[in-house]
């Protein structure tokens, strides 16, 4: 049986994880997954029988939780309770996404695997910089995407969440985005333009640590 976690332990684990301690990820999952699974089983508006026996939902829960921790930007919630609430919000979105028709289902892709080498043509305008600046520029871009990834969970409209994920996080081409969202590329791009300020505002609130407000307002 697990001992009740304290906010210090969760925060401490998060900070260790941000510091590169891989073992911290496993501990975080061990502490928070049981409650998250229980939440999925009992609280979500899904057929309880299917959820209980449908290991896909539980797998998805864990999968979503792992991905949250992997992409989460380097911020620390107030305590473990807030962290759990954040996980629930994100996992809820992930499960809703999962029960949608397959063609609409988002599949977050893993970028990289093709080499996380330092030569990154996306940063080509800085290619004449010294190495440290090139690395810093890339890290900043990664951080921005991480914030966007988290902030999109607080967009109410599913289509908007799709758009942001595909355009700002996965950086897919517009023709693919159009296909996935059943819009023309131009229409998708227009809609993305309209969503960006909303997303930027969410990012602002997240950076300011106002997660409770976001959860209350958009959860």
């Amino acid at each position: 049986m697990t001992t009740p976690q304290t906010h210090d332990e969760t925060i401490d684990l998060l900070q260790r994880w941000h510091g590169g301690d891989r073992a911290a990820l496993g501990e975080l999952l061990e502490r928070h997954l049981p409650k998250l699974r229980e939440f999925v089983r009992t609280r979500l508006d899904l057929d309880a029988r299917h959820v209980r026996r449908d290991q896909d939902s539980l797998d998805l829960t864990q999968h979503a939780a792992v991905r949250v921790l992997e992409y989460m930007p380097r911020f620390v919630p107030r305590d473990g309770q807030q962290f759990q609430a954040l996980l629930r919000r994100i996992v809820t979105n992930a499960l809703i996404n999962e029960v949608r028709a397959p063609k609409h289902r988002l599949r977050e892709q893993r970028n990289g695997g093709y080499g996380d080498s330092m030569l990154d043509l996306r940063s080509s305008p800085h290619s004449s910089m010294q190495p440290e600046r090139a690395i810093a520029a890339r890290e900043q871009a990664d951080e921005t995407r991480a914030w966007a990834r988290m902030a999109l969970e607080f967009l109410d409209d599913e289509c908007d969440r799709q758009l942001v994920l595909l355009a700002a996080v996965d950086e897919r081409p517009w023709n693919e985005i159009g296909e996935a969202t059943e819009m023309t590329p131009d229409a998708a791009r227009m809609r993305f333009k309209r969503v960006m300020p909303k997303l930027a505002n969410r990012i602002r609130m997240l950076r300011e640590g106002r997660i409770d407000e976001l959860l209350e307002q958009f959860g």
Partner: protein, 1123 residues
């Protein structure tokens, strides 16, 4: 004075205003942001903040093509590209520059990967050019390197939108990064010694590249692939640097960017990955980059192997790249002696030399490094490490252990005497025998894995070779299962004529082939031995054989030439029987019904006629004015006739009454051929699209005339046939090719052309015919040009059947009867029984009102137990499936198991824990509370005699209880945490359970200790999102094989006595809920909770029978086949 809204309100206003601004600007309005801010002065600060964030997230507009791409070599732009020929599969990876997708080349029938430049947004024109330049560099570099350790490039081409791509061999295996992780976890398969060999191979491939002037510049564990058989590949040469002949750095072949710089000469460009990057790379000094740079990277990999983490990283921590770079620039990494003090000094010296900060002090090149690694492995002198004479002597003794051992033995023999020698020899013989057996099994396992890989790659012949190399004594179920699969066994024979028609007799034992000049051969199907031959005399100066038909007895062959008079011949001796005179124009088709005396013909004179063969006169006729009949068929029952017409109409008649019963259509097209399938379940018709060189084949249900499938093929259709059992259609076209199409996937699975088939021809021919041999499951015969080919390889997976239940109901669980060919499948609240040999439906049992989640048979096969979500337990008589008893166990029952005798039932409930019922107990006799159970293991077990119960009672323990009173008898301890299910062997001598360290533990109940730990092998922790759950476990009848289904749908099979993995492959999606082993035939059944059933077969006769049976089930709509 106005009220100033609070901050959030201002941000909300800014959000709305900015959205409007961005949308208008996107729409083309020439708006300036500064002016916009000035117009919204009260929220200007908020607008600025949000705008900056938006800019960092924004994406440039869509770019459709690479049109006008600067710098694409003209030769490449002009090159013929085969992109359209490839069948593109899943995307494997995507990175900053391009994508990697799986492709299949249908011409050469091989799987490859394709790297293609990403076609999405560009920030600048010169970036696009640079991206292409790097891409081409990788293709050219790899294409110029011909080494077993470098993946060959097959083709470099250009997509229709202008994006370059290249194809490469697909490598299946793991990266060195994965193997390092496994090594850190203590995987005995990947010891340090073995990984050092891998690094040697990396050195050899890199050294070869150095000899050809290429420097990788980005060597790291993620760029090294190790195949399933230990072959090593160095991947991703995209950052490589090439020297020209003068030894100078290569200048870019791409046109200069707007700034006038080229990639290779750009100072300050960082290339590499920080942890494995050399100091000169980190400093951006590209002019100092050379072979020693790659040596450093390999040294860094060696460092990671020794230390457990890459240089500048502490174990278990991954600092951000900038931190690693900073440390790298400051100085060397932590000394290896500190993190791996027990490492041999020679190995430390090798690593140290490879990672010297001054490139001139490192190994000269990778070959030098490989040499020292080999010396270390062979206990020879390592040049990087200076030693003395005593150390060298010790090494010499170790290397020549056998020699010194023999000398020692000789000395002892002299001292002790001959008796001692005899004893030593017996021990030696025993040890040698043991080694021989170990070596033989090792050979079996290696050859088996090689065969698996070749089958996956579609190389059937090579797979058959490796299977043949497997020692016969070791061959088990898995060998028989794989041996069924390589089926490509073409038989060819050259013909002296140009063949134009082909037909089988009803039994498929004889085959008639007709030629262009009236020649007809009757051959024995099995060996193409000529039984008889004759020549049809020309009629109307035409002798070209258009069609052939055997009568039902096989004694008479009717031949239609392009003339108006069909002729009749004796099959046995080729003797002339007679001619049927009456038609005024060429006979286009002919067919017998059930009556051997009645032949039906269709002709271009617009008539269909029935003839008496014995009297050689017309019996009846139908005349048509509007269109001409083009094809004719009689159903196998002899009751119906089907005809196709030149206007696309298809009519069906009832033969007795000549009443038209059905009309179907190919609008606007001419029907090329109509057929019934040999069992009369389908109607088939092929037509040709007049506007395109394509044919369409449609299949209708024979009884309902519901259109079932529409298949497309290339070329003008000359003829087509269907083999329903095999799920195949073959279409012969005027190009001389035969297309073989899969009915289920509607895809062309083969295109047998003249060249591919190996049939000889003197000139291109438009004559082509094909048919499936009756009762031979997908055995296609075709004739084209001057050759006859028989090929049976299309149903290559007759050892592997994969279905899913159709409709909305999902199969939840399945269980096989232990001794009878019955499979019980739970689908919602219903239990369906199938004949497990034929797949045919047997019965449906409906006694539950809620979803059935568990079905179990007692080991003696007399009773079946089923339980549903509400906890209703139904006991059935497993012979006649009458209900014996019902009980209510309460909701949330996870598993149930019953003994043979003594009427003991053990079940596990989420809230109750484990309960044991004996006899007519209305409530459990005793229980194990959930608090006493670990929660990650389920499926308790009971022995056949009902005396003992096994259940997981702790994180690492399984307890044996007395079934009567729950008294603990014994505890079995696992080396690590248990997760998943338990299994009891048929002889009740072993218990197995899944563990959370990617293994299965097997206890011996005789000795009470761990007998084996079985590893999952190729599937490392990176394959699992979380702990690996063993969801199904089964022993075979002799306890020599153990089978497991995993939570990610992977199926594994081990040789239990030796503890070796024999098969491991993905089998189903998600959680494998049911796994059964047929104790007699060695068949393995797998089911999951998504309604999928997969059967892995090892008996060819059963496989064929099962295929036919499931085909009927599919036609009945109860199942769908999954490709």
């Amino acid at each position: 004075m106005s009220f100033l809204p609070d901050r959030d309100s201002r941000f909300a206003q800014a959000e709305a205003a900015l959205a409007d601004y961005l949308a208008r600007r996107e729409g083309g309005e020439p708006l300036e942001f500064e002016r916009f801010c000035a117009e919204h002065d009260e929220i200007a600060a908020e607008l600025q903040l949000l705008f900056r964030t938006c800019e960092s997230l924004d994406r440039p507009p869509h770019q459709d093509s690479f049109a006008g791409l600067v710098g694409l070599p003209e030769s490449l732009a002009r090159a013929h590209n085969r992109f359209a020929d490839y069948q593109v599969g899943e995307r494997i990876a995507r990175g900053g520059m391009g994508e990697i997708v799986a492709v299949h080349d249908p011409v050469l029938r091989r799987d490859m990967v394709m790297k293609i430049v990403r076609g999405d947004d560009w920030r600048a024109c010169d970036e696009r050019a640079r991206r292409v330049e790097r891409f081409l560099r990788e293709a050219r570099t790899t294409g110029q390197l011909d080494h077993p350790g470098i993946v060959p490039v097959h083709e470099l081409g250009v997509h229709s939108d202008g994006r370059p791509y290249f194809t490469m061999k697909r490598v299946r295996g793991q990266t060195l990064a994965d193997l390092f992780a496994q090594h850190r976890k203590g995987d005995i398969d990947w010891s340090q010694a073995r990984l050092l060999i891998v690094l040697q191979r990396v050195c050899e491939a890199t050294a070869y590249a150095h000899s050809r002037g290429a420097i990788h510049r980005d060597l790291k564990p993620a760029n090294v692939m190790v195949g399933d058989f230990g072959e090593v590949y160095v991947m991703d040469w995209g950052l490589s640097k090439l020297r020209d002949d003068a030894g100078q750095p290569e200048t870019s072949s791409v046109g200069a960017s707007s700034s006038g710089d080229s990639l290779a000469t750009m100072e300050g460009e960082v290339i590499g990955t920080p942890c494995y990057m050399s100091p000169e790379q980190a400093a951006g000094a590209q002019n100092h980059v050379g072979p020693a740079t790659d040596v450093y990277a390999i040294g860094a990999m060696l460092y990671e192997l020794i230390c457990g983490s890459p240089p500048y990283c502490v174990e278990g921590r991954a600092p951000p790249p900038h931190a690693v770079l900073a440390r790298l620039l400051r100085g060397p990494p932590a000394p290896l002696e500190h993190c791996a003090p027990r490492t041999p000094a020679e190995l430390l010296a090798i690593c140290d030399k490879a990672m010297r900060r001054d490139p001139r002090q490192r190994f000269v090149d990778a070959r030098d490094l490989a040499s020292d690694l080999a010396a270390f492995a062979e206990d020879r002198v390592v040049r990087a490490h200076r030693t003395g004479p005593i150390v060298e002597l010790r090494k010499w003794i170790r290397r020549n252990r056998a020699l010194t051992a023999s000398a020692a033995m000789a000395l002892l023999a002299v001292l002790v005497g001959s008796v001692w020698i005899a004893r030593a020899n017996r021990d030696l013989a025993g040890a040698l025998q043991s080694q021989v057996e170990t070596a033989r099994f090792g050979a079996y396992r290696s050859n088996l894995l090689l065969a698996q890989a070749e089958l996956e790659a579609g190389n059937d012949e090579r797979a058959a070779y490796w299977l043949g190399e497997c020692p016969e004594r070791e061959r088990g179920w898995e060998w028989r299962h794989l041996a069924l699969r390589p089926l490509s066994n073409d038989r060819r024979v050259a013909l002296s004529m140009e063949a134009s028609a082909l037909a089988f007799d009803r039994g498929g034992t004889r085959l008639a082939v007709g030629g262009r000049e009236g020649d007809v051969l009757v051959l024995r199907s099995s060996d193409f031995d000529v039984l008889s031959a004759f020549r049809v005399p020309p009629t109307d100066n035409v002798d070209w054989v258009a069609d052939l038909a055997f009568d039902p007895t096989g004694g008479i062959l009717a031949v239609a030439t392009k003339g108006a008079i069909p002729t009749l011949w004796r099959v046995d001796d080729g003797g002339y029987v007679g001619a049927l005179v009456g038609h005024r124009s060429e006979v286009v088709d002919l067919s017998f019904g059930l009556d051997p005396d009645v032949l039906y013909t269709a002709a271009a004179d617009g008539s269909i006629r029935a003839w008496s063969v014995s009297q050689q006169r017309e019996l009846s006729r139908l005349d048509f004015d509007a269109a001409l009949p083009t094809s004719l068929a009689i159903d196998p029952a002899g009751e119906r006739m089907l005809a196709g017409f030149s206007d696309g109409a298809i009519l069906e008649w009832e033969l007795g009454s000549w009443c038209v019963t059905t009309r179907l259509e190919f609008p606007g097209e001419s029907v090329a051929q109509v057929r019934y399938d040999p069992k009369g379940q389908l109607l088939m018709a092929s037509s040709n699209q007049p506007s395109a060189d394509r044919g369409i084949t449609r299949l209708w249900m024979a009884r309902t005339h519901e259109l079932w499938k529409e298949l497309r093929s290339d070329g003008v259709v000359l003829g087509s046939q269907v083999d329903v059992d095999a799920g195949l259609v073959c279409v012969a076209s005027s190009s001389g090719d035969v297309a073989v199409l899969s009915i289920d996937s509607e895809d062309a699975i083969d295109q047998i052309g003249l060249v591919a088939s190996g049939l000889r021809h003197r000139k291109p021919t438009a004559f082509c015919a094909a048919d499936f041999a009756p009762a031979a499951l997908g055995d296609l015969h075709m004739t084209s040009g001057h050759g006859l080919l028989a090929r049976s390889g299309f149903t290559r997976r007759t050892s592997d059947f994969h279905f899913e239940s159709s409709g909305n109901d999902r199969m939840q669980f399945s269980r096989r009867h232990p001794s009878e060919p019955r499979l019980a499948i739970a689908t919602d609240s219903t239990i369906t029984l199938l004949d497990s040999r034929t797949g045919r439906h047997v019965a449906t049992l409906e006694q539950h009102e809620e979803t059935v989640n568990c079905v179990a048979f007692t080991r003696d096969g007399r009773r079946m137990l089923s339980v549903d979500d509400n906890g209703r337990l139904v006991e059935w008589d497993a012979r006649d499936y009458r209900v014996l008893r019902k009980r209510e166990l309460g909701a949330s029952v996870l598993a149930v198991c019953g003994s043979d005798a003594s009427d003991v039932i053990v079940f596990q409930r989420e809230d109750l824990g484990i309960g044991v019922l004996i006899g007519d107990d209305p409530a459990p006799r005793w229980t194990l509370a959930p608090s006493e159970l670990p929660g990650e293991v389920f499926k308790p077990l009971v022995t056949r005699d009902g005396r003992r119960v096994f259940a997981a009672t702790g994180e690492r323990t399984v307890t044996e209880f007395d079934a009567r009173d729950g008294r603990p008898l014994r505890t079995l301890l696992a080396p690590t945490r248990l997760i998943g299910v338990l299994a009891l062997s048929p002889d009740e001598q072993f218990v197995a359970a899944g563990c959370d360290d990617f293994s299965v533990v097997v206890w011996s109940l005789v000795r009470g200790n761990v007998e084996r730990r079985l590893l999952f092998g190729a599937y490392s922790s990176t394959e699992f999102l979380q702990t690996p759950v063993v969801t199904s476990l089964e022993f075979d009848a002799t306890s020599s094989r153990l089978f497991a289904g995993l939570g990610i749908g992977v199926f594994c099979a081990w040789d239990l006595p030796r503890g070796e993995l024999l098969l491991c492959a993905p089998a189903l999606r998600g959680w494998i809920t049911g796994l059964d082993v047929d104790p007699v035939g060695g068949r393995v059944w797998l089911t999951n909770h998504r309604g999928e059933l997969r059967v892995l077969e090892s008996d060819p006769r059963v496989a064929a029978e099962f295929a036919r049976g499931m085909r009927m089930e599919i036609l009945a709509g109860r199942w769908r086949k999954r490709e």
